[in-house]
């Protein structure tokens, strides 16, 4: 011991020695103890060397360039973006509530509602898949029972395939699609005279502002047209391209009679 009144050397002193953190006078005392205890000294010297070894081994992970995603400015921007999205969503929902109220008050939609997502999807799905010569449907009519089970299961309600044979349209098959609301959607495709295609698009549609009356919609970038309606939280759209309005309405009515089993609604044109 360096001094008569020195505290005995402890394990904490020896660890601090390994870390090089002893104050000078204490270090002198520990050095003296290590000199008198060569076996222990070898152990603690090894620990100090291994401490350096670990630091060296890990240094590349400290010095490596930092990915941009960890920059505070980028994290803050992402956070603002997420908050903005939330606020915009709330604002949009509020706007829709107000608009829905106004439209309802104004007497049930005097305006065409081309923006309704279900209808937009139906028009787009018709444009994309009816034009597909190679694979217009995902499951063909040959497996109609299987397709019905599958689509009914995914949409969470028993589906009925309307029979449009009397109108000159036969079922080709169907496919599952993703609605903008995250609800699964189904598209049934029919083939009519001279290869004309007719599609029935259906999915849950709980957005208000629409009733069971028929409405007419046109694609904005193509000549697809549709009659659509919403019945008890479920949306239907009958779409075709290049079909006159009266013929399309006739088909939509035929579909409506069969899917709803309800009395024919008044066309709200």
């Amino acid at each position: 011991m360096a001094a008569g009144d020195a505290m005995p050397v402890g394990e904490d002193d020896l660890q601090a020695w390994v870390d090089g953190r002893l104050p000078p006078e204490r270090r002198t005392a520990v050095d003296a103890w290590l000199a008198a205890n060569p076996v222990a000294a070898a152990r603690f010297r090894a620990m100090a060397a291994q401490r350096e070894m670990l630091r060296d081994a890990l240094r590349p992970h400290h010095d490596a360039p930092m990915p941009a995603r960890l920059r505070v400015a980028n994290l803050l921007a992402a956070r603002r973006e997420a908050q903005g999205r939330g606020q915009r969503r709330i604002a949009a929902a509020a706007a829709w509530l107000v608009l829905g109220g106004v439209l309802g008050w104004a007497g049930n939609a005097l305006l065409p509602q081309r923006e309704r997502p279900m209808v937009t999807e139906a028009l787009a799905a018709h444009a994309v898949f009816a034009a597909d010569a190679g694979r217009p449907v995902e499951i063909s009519v040959a497996q109609e029972a299987q397709m019905l089970r599958w689509l009914s299961d995914r949409l969470g309600r028993p589906l009925v395939v309307p029979e449009l044979g009397p109108a000159g349209y036969r079922l080709m098959g169907g496919r599952l699609l993703a609605g903008a609301t995250g609800d699964p959607a189904a598209q049934l495709m029919y083939e009519g005279p001279r290869g004309a295609r007719l599609t029935l698009y259906l999915r849950a549609d709980r957005a208000g502002g629409a009733g069971a009356e028929f409405r007419y919609a046109e694609g904005t970038t193509n000549s697809v047209t549709a009659f659509w309606w919403v019945d008890r939280g479920f949306g239907y759209a009958v779409a075709a391209e290049g079909l006159n309005r009266a013929a399309l309405l006739h088909l939509a009515e035929a579909v409506h009679r069969q899917v709803a089993g309800a009395p024919r609604p008044d066309p709200g044109l």
Binding site: A16, R59, H62
Partner: protein
């Protein structure tokens, strides 16, 4: 747009990110998983910045967040195994180019050190890293881990002794060492 408050936040946090990445990598041994953990840590720190005691250094606070996320998270899956790739590259280099042999030898030493660290208990490993690598004081490490300082000292002392025995081959029959041998 970089507002004044945000610039100040960046100036307080970013200097610690390299150390956070090193600590996270040492815990997870996978760069992508480590950076995910660091990102989670920074996001949480930013969202709770107002709860921080401003008179204190941000570093132990950030490390405490990261350590808690690591402990509570399901982040252990990435551990083990990922440490091998670097060393296999080192061996290949040594065969191709004698001048790279020293570097490869160095990497083998590092690999052994990291593998030995890996066979310590999680508690010992964390203490060895915080004190021996990240330079936290014993008191700061105890506060950060929310354990008495005596506990930190005993984990440090036992962890270092075990690491030494592993690296000096005194625990050659040990499961930890057996794992080292298996590693190519």
């Amino acid at each position: 747009m970089m507002r004044g408050r945000e610039r100040a936040l960046a100036a307080l946090i970013e200097p610690h990110i390299p150390a956070l990445r090193r600590f996270a990598w040492a815990l997870l041994r996978d760069t992508a998983a480590a950076d995910d953990l660091v990102q989670d840590c920074l996001e949480r720190a930013i969202s709770r910045w107002h709860l921080r005691r401003p008179e204190r250094d941000a570093k132990p606070w950030l490390f405490a967040i990261l350590h808690n996320l690591h402990r509570s998270g399901r982040r252990s899956a990435a551990r083990r195994g990922a440490m091998l790739s670097l060393d296999e590259r080192g061996l290949a280099d040594a065969v191709a180019d004698p001048a790279a042999a020293d570097a490869a030898e160095q990497r083998l030493i590092w690999r052994d050190a990291l593998a030995a660290l890996d066979s310590l208990s999680e508690e010992q490993r964390v203490v060895l890293l915080l004190i021996g690598v990240e330079d936290f004081s014993y008191e700061a490490a105890a506060r950060l881990l929310d354990v008495p300082i005596g506990t930190v000292m005993s984990r440090l002392s036992r962890g270092r002794e075990r690491l030494r025995r592993l690296l000096d081959g005194e625990e050659a029959a040990d499961a930890g060492r057996a794992m080292l041998r298996r590693v190519k």
